[in-house]
Amino acid sequence: MIETPHYLAFSFILYMIGIYCLVTKRNMIRLLLGIEILINAANFNFISLARSIPSLIDPLALSIVTVSIGLAASVSAVAVIIIVYAYRHYGTLDVRLLKRLKG
């Protein structure tokens, strides 16, 4: 039987993987995937905590996760549009080369 602490540990690890991806990766698409991993860590946490009460699944958590998946999809749609335009301007997906703005 998998207990709640295991699920929590898994979602924390997933969150850390997302942060690691955002910090180290240089490709714009991979950065977007990092964001998706972060959102999925949070979604997973919601679902795993909703089952902490036995024999009852809370509809609140499920509705939040459903809406959150939709929001994540729209964020990635906007991000992909921006990436396409960035590719047209720079001819590359490497964020290291996008350094004309000074921090």
């Binding site: 714009m28 905590l49 902490s52 958590a61 929001l71 906007v78 960035a86 996008l98 004309r100 703005l101």
Partner: protein, 483 residues
């Protein structure tokens, strides 16, 4: 469905592209801008109606499906008034500002969606509704920053903004999920009751850290501020005014709401953290603009400094401090909005943001330069103007709460900020060297009208601050009194 002001904004946001399509057929492209401004005005009228209801009957709630709900108190009405007011100015200003751009109906539609997202965020009564409207605001602001997609700068700034801000939103969602796991509910009042039984628990600290980081990215608290100068200077000027004047303040609102209702149990600890963050934010936000030569970047950096002042008022944790913070949110929206719109006017005439290249523009555009100087003086905190009143309230609150060191830091920062604001005014008044400046003329009347109204508000709220103080105090009491 979601209270009259948001309904009106959403209906107008959906119908604006249709009106814009017809307007382009009959060669009257600015008609959709007029239409969206009318929508904002109607929404402002409904907010006034709500204000009267809330003032006489107390908190209003609008339950809807999936256990999400809106709970409107005085604080929500206060914030919504600022959002819609600055939104009207930005919308009227964009009528002429965007005349050379394509996709203007979509711009107005996104602007209305962003405003309805912000109004929904402040009306939300639980974390679920809050998060949905929060993301609506974020997504439309990413698109608006990248609006001039034919240039490289907005695209790069928007990508940076998108990655940082959506990582922040995901962190906020993670913090919410831990709170949900502890309490089984996401309603603000339900969380307050449930957490008062739990007491201080290690998971409460973990979720508080996640939520503070998530909100801190959006409100540009210092270690998380790097997206702000890029995004705010690359966006079209009316959007810069919206982002700097109100979108960043939505983050401050969220910290107030979450801090003073949900995290009441560990109040003492997070107020100290906020005090330290406020000090760092203030100094970084006021020392970096000293080196800037780009007008809009300078204004964007100075917004970080003003976020520091707002956090200083928040860190006192008293009604007076919160009143000061809310007043500063209102005044900063108007002052910084006016400053960005004036910078946009210079950009519209000269097509440059470098301060060297606009030397002497004040001689050719006297009205714009006068309003710009007025708003910069107000941002410094000069006595008869509105910035002075709110900064004074914050300083008084810090002294009252035995945190006088924070008040002294606010005073020192006002002095530092005077250095770069005066340098900007000096650039406006220098002798003219460039031919472009010699040929520039005063901006169009449609763009000057919102600026004149804002200048009027800066002076009036400085001389007669009573109405604003009372409004802000009732909002602060509504939050602190748990109501």
């Amino acid at each position: 469905m979601f209270s009259p002001p948001i309904d009106i904004l959403l209906i107008f946001a959906i119908t604006t592209p249709i009106i814009g399509w017809f307007a382009e057929r009959i060669k009257k492209a600015h008609m959709c801008g007029v239409y969206s401004s009318v929508g904002l005005l109607i929404s402002l009228w409904y907010i006034y109606e709500l204000f009267r209801k809330v003032a006489s009957n107390g908190t209003q709630s609008y339950p809807s499906f999936f256990s999400s709900q809106l709970r409107i108190d005085m604080l929500g009405v206060f914030m919504a008034t600022i959002f819609v007011l600055i939104g009207i100015f930005a919308s009227v200003y964009s009528l002429r500002y965007l005349e050379k751009d394509t996709g203007v109906p979509l711009f107005h539609s996104l602007l209305l969606l962003m405003i309805s997202g912000m109004v929904g965020t402040v009306f939300a009564g639980d974390f679920f509704t809050f998060f949905v409207f929060w993301e609506m605001m974020c997504i439309s602001s990413y698109t608006l920053v990248a609006f001039r997609k034919q240039r490289w700068e907005p695209i790069e700034a928007a990508f940076k903004y998108l990655i940082m801000s959506s990582a922040g939103s995901a962190t906020l969602l993670f913090g919410m999920s831990i709170l949900y796991g502890m309490c089984g509910t996401l309603n603000f009042q339900g969380l307050t009751i449930a957490l008062s039984n739990v007491g201080s628990n290690v998971w409460l600290y973990v979720s508080a850290i996640f939520i503070l980081i998530g909100l801190g990215v959006k409100s540009a608290i210092v270690p998380l501020h790097t997206w702000l100068p890029d995004a705010h200077s690359a966006a079209p000027s009316p959007i810069s005014a919206m982002l700097s004047g109100v979108v960043v303040e939505t983050g401050i609102y969220a910290i107030c709401r979450v801090g003073f209702t949900v995290l009441m149990g560990i109040e003492v600890q997070w107020l100290e953290v906020l005090a330290i963050l406020s000090l760092v934010t203030m100094f970084v936000g006021n020392l970096t603009p000293l080196l800037q030569t780009d007008l809009k970047r300078l204004l964007a950096y100075s917004s970080i400094g003003h976020i520091g002042y707002m956090l200083a008022g928040l860190a006192t944790g008293t009604v007076l401090g919160l009143t000061g913070t809310l007043m500063h949110i209102f005044n900063h929206g108007i002052m910084k909005g006016a400053a960005f719109l004036c910078a946009g006017m210079i950009l519209y005439r000269l097509e440059t943001r470098e301060m060297k290249e606009m030397a002497g523009i004040g001689r050719k555009m006297p009205v714009t330069a006068a309003i710009f100087a007025l708003s910069l003086f107000a941002l410094t905190g000069m006595p008869p103007l509105n910035g002075f009143i709110s900064e004074l309230t914050i300083i008084m609150a810090t002294v009252e709460a035995n945190m006088a060191w924070l008040g002294v830091a606010v005073i020192i920062n006002s002095v530092i900020s005077a250095a770069y604001y005066l340098r900007t005014i000096k650039a406006l008044l220098q002798p003219i060297t460039k031919k472009e400046v010699e040929e520039a003329k005063e901006g169009p009347l449609v763009m000057l009208i919102p600026l004149l109204i804002m200048a009027g508000l800066i002076v009036i709220l400085g001389i007669y601050p009573d109405i604003l103080i009372n409004f802000a105090r009732s909002a602060a009491i509504a939050l602190m009194g748990g109501g």
